[in-house]
């Protein structure tokens, strides 16, 4: 039989009721294959349910071809009749198909037992989530400690750092991220200025929007948007890259070569992110202020006045405080990206989960760290 015959003579079903005792004869003919068995299956089910019968005969001498689907139909008929305590006779089935029935036929009716997934109670769910969170914090602290030790060791022996990788990551995370930082910076400056200029104008205080924008950008928004963009662009990339290495057992290969993955993979990324985030923040600040100017000048505030107003409002301390924050954000985002990558389990979906988790954890940690800084700066009177 060639493929060409596949379309010939689709399977068919004819039903006869014969004899006084009401023997039901199902005449099967033609090809019982994956294509034609579906409709025959439904027809036989309907016939048997409408006319439950003690004696069913399947007359199969006209079956010219029978694959797994056809055999499944015969097996199903056998099982159905057996479940009713009735008999089923299959007559005229060609020898080669009967052998298939013997090979496939011994399927138990009892469904196999798989791993049982019982519903979990709310208390248990909360407990498990809490346990998971605690475990996560422990892992995070361990990782931070390991990274800190590696950093100290790298400071003593700078040749241990893979500088070429660090430069490459710096380019990808820093230079390549500049356009998006510039765009978001300008837009943020525009929006902040516009939103505050309109209400403050009613009090004749629209000049002070410059003060507001300068402080907000330098102390808060500049570092924050830079860190969030970094989490989205680079934290996710780190997680995906390291996660793929993990599932391809490249991380294990490194470890067995005596090369610590933290020094080899994490350190260059963290160093690159730490140096790039403050630089990107400077750009975010500058573009934010440019965006502000783009609103203020048309509102009638001369550019010189705008600049002077900002210079009078912000101090070098505000700028440096913001940059210091961004430096910490850089460490957090890069570390969590790498950690999530190294924690990847097996399978393609694990890399996806690691990447998502890197971005989400990164943003959550940025918010937490920002909160800590707010309290700290207030306590220190900065």
């Amino acid at each position: 039989m060639t493929l060409a015959t596949a379309t010939q003579m689709a399977g068919s079903l004819t039903v006869h009721r014969t004899g006084e005792n009401g023997t039901l004869t199902l005449v099967l003919a033609g090809r019982l294959d994956m294509n034609s068995t579906g409709s025959i299956w439904r027809d036989t089910q309907r016939v048997l349910q409408e006319q439950p019968t003690v004696q069913v005969v399947v007359e199969a001498s006209g079956v010219s071809y029978c694959d797994g689907a056809g055999i499944a139909l015969l097996v199903k008929l056998q099982q159905y009749q057996a479940s009713l305590g009735s008999a089923l006779t299959i007559s005229g089935l060609q020898e080669e198909f009967r052998r298939l029935l013997d090979i496939y036929g011994q399927i138990s009716i009892v469904p196999p037992t798989g791993p049982h997934r019982e519903p979990v109670s709310l208390v248990e769910q909360v407990g498990k989530a809490g346990e998971g969170l605690w475990h996560d914090i422990q892992v995070l602290l361990t990782f931070a400690g390991e990274l800190a030790l590696t950093l100290v060791r790298a400071a003593r022996h700078p040749h241990l750092v893979r500088w070429r990788d660090a430069w490459l990551v710096a380019e990808q995370a820093g230079v390549d991220g500049l356009p998006i930082i510039a765009l978001i910076g300008v837009l943020l400056g525009l929006i902040l200025t516009f939103q505050s200029a309109i209400p403050m104008r009613r009090f004749g205080a629209d000049l002070y929007v410059a003060n507001l924008l300068g402080l907000a950008m330098l102390r808060e928004m500049g570092p924050l948007i830079t860190a969030i963009v970094l989490a989205g662009r680079s934290g996710s990339a780190f997680a995906a890259e390291l996660g793929t290495m993990k599932i391809r057992e490249e991380i294990n290969a490194l470890s067995t070569m005596g090369i610590e993955p933290v020094r080899f993979l994490v350190l260059p990324r963290v160093l690159a992110a730490v140096t790039m985030t403050p630089l990107l923040t400077v750009f975010a600040n500058a573009f934010g202020l440019i965006g502000g100017a783009a609103v203020m000048v048309p509102l009638g505030v001369p550019l010189v006045t705008y600049v002077n107003q900002i210079l009078s409002a912000v101090t070098v301390g505000d700028l440096l405080g913001g940059l210091f924050k961004s430096l910490v954000y850089g460490i957090v985002v890069a570390s969590i990206g790498c950690l999530r990558g190294l924690q990847t389990s097996t399978g393609a979906s694990a890399v996806g989960r690691a990447t998502t988790s890197a971005v989400v954890s990164g943003i959550v940690l940025i918010a937490v760290v920002d909160g800590i800084f707010a309290v700290l700066f207030y306590a220190l009177g900065l």
Binding site: T2, L3, A4, A6, D33, M34, N35, T37, G38, S39, W41, R42, Q45, D67, G68, A69, I71, A72, L73, V75, K76, E96, R99, L100, I103, Y104, Q106, I107, P112, T113, G114, P115, T346, G347, A348, S349
Partner: protein, 257 residues
């Protein structure tokens, strides 16, 4: 080997290239219905390349590959689907979908290509998994299974639509000798009982001796077929020194000397 030699795959003057470097140079051979054909050769000899052309993943640079009389490379969408429904493929790493259970993995082709009722699909999946000895694992995901089990599950998935031809790429790679032998028995059983045709890429000598009706030996240097025949015959009678070395498991002189 079956007594009646009906050619089901014809490869004619087939040439394959990878980035403009010729990998296979003008080879021709047949695969006969019901036989277990092994494509063997050293690493880098183009075995997997031949397989990937046979299953239509790559297009030949020159020549034709006909499966049951149809050229998969030039077939229209509908015809191509018809060919693909009639072949099953397993890949070196199993390539089971990690997010699906075995049941869902094997059911996927049935859902895509047939209108069978869910109950029928379920029964067919169980039949296939039983055939490879994995019926009790149908609710497990692949990562919960051993390497050998994953290979067997991949064969069950490849067989879901009862294809006439099964292509296996390095089925015993990474398996222990016992599991590998069990897999060989499974393949032999399927070939003999279900009259399936197998095209298997492997360089596992034990497997070749156990299952191959015929072996095609590819040579990476000449990029041609250097020998065809029963493995037992090639071992003793081949005029090619390299083929004898392969079947007697001897190192080449550059390496040993």
């Amino acid at each position: 080997m079956p007594s009646m030699l009906e050619s089901i795959i014809q490869v004619r003057h087939f040439t394959a290239a990878h980035h403009s470097a010729t990998v296979i140079d003008d080879i021709s051979f047949d695969v006969y219905r019901g036989e277990v054909l092994v494509i063997a050769g050293r690493s880098g000899s183009g075995k997997s390349t031949v397989l990937k052309h046979l299953i239509g993943l790559y297009q030949p640079v020159a020549g034709h590959i006909l499966i049951a009389g149809r050229d998969i490379a030039t077939a229209e969408e509908e015809e191509r689907t018809a060919i693909l429904k009639n072949i099953g493929v397993t890949y070196q790493m199993g390539a089971l979908f990690g997010s699906m259970t075995l049941l869902e993995n094997v059911r996927l082709p049935l859902e895509e290509y047939t209108d069978l009722p869910p109950e029928a699909m379920h029964l067919i999946v169980r039949m296939k998994l039983k055939l490879v000895g994995l019926e009790t694992f149908m609710d497990h995901v692949p990562s919960e299974l051993s390497g050998g089990m994953q290979k067997r599950a991949a064969i069950a998935r490849a067989m879901a639509l009862d294809p006439q031809i099964l292509f296996l790429d390095e089925p015993s790679a990474g398996l222990d000798p016992i599991t590998s032998a069990e897999l060989d028995q499974l393949i032999l059983g399927l070939a003999r009982n279900l009259k399936m045709t197998f095209v298997i890429v492997t360089h596992e000598l034990a497997s070749i001796y156990a299952i191959a009706d015929r072996v095609i030996m590819l040579d990476g240097q000449t990029k041609k077929i250097v020998a065809t025949g029963r493995p037992q015959d090639l071992r003793h009678t081949s005029t090619n020194r390299w083929v004898r070395q392969f079947f007697n498991r001897e190192a080449s002189e550059e390496v040993s000397g």
